[in-house]
Symmetry: none
Subunit: 528 residues, 2 copies
Amino acid sequence: MNHPRVEVFDTTLRDGAQREGITYSVADKLAVARLLDQVGVSYIEGGWPGALPKDTEFFARARTELQLQHAVLVAFGATRKAGVRVEDDAQVRALLDSQAPVVCLVAKSDPRHVRDALRTTPEENRAMVADTVAFLVGHGRRVFVDCEHFFDGYAADPDHGVAVLQAAFDAGAEVGVLCDTNGGMLPSGISRVVTEVRGRVTGQLGIHCQDDTGCAVANSLAAVEAGVTQVQGTANGYGERAGNANTFTLIGNLVTKMGLPVVPAECLPELSRVSHAIAELANLTPDDHQPFVGASAFAHKAGLHASAIKVSPELYNHLDPAVVGNDMRILVTEMAGRASVELKGRELGVDLTGQGDAVGRVVAAVKEREARGWSYEAADASFELLLRGELPGAPAPLFELESWRTTVEHRTDGAVVSEAVVKVGLPDGDGGTERVVAVGEGNGPVNALDNALRAALVTRWPQLADVALSDYKVRILGWTGGTSATTRVLVDTTDKAGEWTTVGVHENVVEASWLALVDALTYAVVSR
Amino acid sequence: MNHPRVEVFDTTLRDGAQREGITYSVADKLAVARLLDQVGVSYIEGGWPGALPKDTEFFARARTELQLQHAVLVAFGATRKAGVRVEDDAQVRALLDSQAPVVCLVAKSDPRHVRDALRTTPEENRAMVADTVAFLVGHGRRVFVDCEHFFDGYAADPDHGVAVLQAAFDAGAEVGVLCDTNGGMLPSGISRVVTEVRGRVTGQLGIHCQDDTGCAVANSLAAVEAGVTQVQGTANGYGERAGNANTFTLIGNLVTKMGLPVVPAECLPELSRVSHAIAELANLTPDDHQPFVGASAFAHKAGLHASAIKVSPELYNHLDPAVVGNDMRILVTEMAGRASVELKGRELGVDLTGQGDAVGRVVAAVKEREARGWSYEAADASFELLLRGELPGAPAPLFELESWRTTVEHRTDGAVVSEAVVKVGLPDGDGGTERVVAVGEGNGPVNALDNALRAALVTRWPQLADVALSDYKVRILGWTGGTSATTRVLVDTTDKAGEWTTVGVHENVVEASWLALVDALTYAVVSR
């Protein structure tokens, strides 16, 4: 393929903010813009100044607070109202006032929307587009035009949208963006329409896809293959309904699969970090299974592959994960052999050189434990403790357990109360032991035990004050056989710097939880 | 397009189980298979009998416990080992023993994998395929062959994989499935290779795509457009790394966008419910933004379009959401409209004729409770109790609760002991109340409570002696807001005749479990 330069237009801060549950502050928006710039997108659409006060403020602050290296800032807006002179339209004036060098105007391109939503004529609609484009271009702005509902409109009347597009180009628009606003298209349909439209207008075309058929990325790529040169997407695919084409998946595919250098080479390894950071700013859990950048995107569970992966990783990955700043994670499972343990050790930064015997003991321990229901694939912290326990300089246990007891009561007055008492011996530094008895309350037996154990340990290890249980999963493993069910507990724990996962297995669910808790706090002390 | 019949092959229970964090019990697998059958897929791949003991048990139990209406059960397996006679290969024998009518064999079709992973020759590899297919066909099985790493192999050597495919067809295989095992393909590449391969072999082709480029669905559809007639996917796209092609998105697109009736018409509206129920069984949060079936898939953020949507919803949706059992502007809470409740009532054998008011109260109660974290999608028994509670002849509560207390101790001798005391009032038959105090032991606080409550009730209802808790799932629902997390517990309970699921929600995990237990035992008394 001999393509003209293809550019990525990111609309995380405008269309992506339509996703249910996302509410950015202006500071968030500035931070997201900086991150998007770090992955090297060409355009960052920041919002709709004039329509949304927060977006007006964003553009005002961006002038002094945002130094972009790669991207150009874009203001989104509408064409002038029907029957109003463009220079009298306050919304259009606000686009100028934003001082964004590029304006992206939305234009109705489905005749049914012109009639039913805009309640005007196709002629006035085209005049609104032409007037607004010409006015902004006359004031020195570059103008792109989003042709909303283009594909549905094209199916209803192939001439209407093309006429809108041509009106925009004639008035000086630089790019006409074909939008699958309702997201119902498939790649073959996109390909056909783009090819037809390219034959009917002169001007640079863009593509904007929603993911309602699960094909937003593929639709965008089909449009690029058919000749569009601007691709719109959002970080992590955030957007209304099923979301938008995912900017990071687009970049991954355009660069590594289609050979189109849409971002500077040095930016590509920022992809994974930026994806996770934007998820944090949006206050959403990162999708571990997101292509290219997800924590599991290069994780291998099937044990039958682990030894072969060590020899030839390229046979089992579609891409070297380092290219997009990701990492190959090996899941330690019951089928794991020495190769998996060695790879995992390398990933955790544990030097296993000359530790063949220790590796053998870890493999044996993992097999023996997983046969009894333990699972280390999600519990990296427990695995690291197991591994360190077999190596020279293994950390000593934090305490000797004497006993614990936890109680939950539903009292006659309806109150539900949980309490726990923990009795442990702590090393006193002189080779002796100091006996500590501590009590905790909580919203369940495990939460109470966690609070009691931390109360017992926190005077010795003050960092445990910042440690908190953040998630808790229980599985009954009926199928492991024996007379009574085994229970597996996974505990997620956080401190200020991050999160780790530990595992415990026992017939008794609270003892299983206790084992996971002890690993969680031990990890906080020895490995954080 | 004039297509031969296209069939959907679901591998949720085999390849989908490779997703990190998924561990199904055999009962879960049977439940997932029943749900997949309800959406009308043609094939359900249940697992790898012989290799995984749980899968061997699944196929054994499926023979008596699984009555499929639409789907045919498929056993996955490998070809015979290199240098071993097929009739001497225990793994191949286990495939016969599973009694699955269809076997799907995996065959290496990338020459580099044959050399580096299998460590044999292309000739022996083809012989392994041919011998195993012929052996299984000779024993009356239908055989499909998954050509692993087909597309990467095709890029390296276009003849190798085609020869494997032809060997399979020559030996009697019914379908040769082209697998993008590493998931690195884009639709145009899939289209080209499928077209070329179709010109070189005679036989029915299938497609299996992984989502590492975010194009698994589009890749699968491109293959169908190029002539394959079997499409593999997994529920909600669960699978290794970025996951597999999503069975539900595939069905939505094949039926509503491409006009291919891959599932019976009456099954399509089951799509959303089944998607959510399988997420519950996998103990994963349903993806609200999943195309077609997500709770937000047809949700429109307030503002902009609201009034126009009311007038012409078809202008703002790519599809009428009811077609796939979804709803416009739904939250999960709103999935239970009157129609769903009536439908569900009919399914449960509850006559709702003339019960419009009661149905309205149930809809309101479900909405109110689901807003607080309850979920009835997987908890049919709790839903039935809620429904019966609003109808004439509503069953009285089994008992009045005075109080309960449950204790778990890790004693100084290392023994872990759980006990519970339950104090209830039972109706004495003369309008009075008999006070009963009962104690139970168990392998955890909930098991002890279950035993204590059954001890309190079993003299009045002897059938409770045969009732046992069989599975238990806990989910922390941090997102319901407030100062402390809410916990949802799902309890599976069995008696001699079958299994039912109940739900409880509370800040305290043991109180949530108690609520689910009370529903479980009440259901055993009033509905079994």
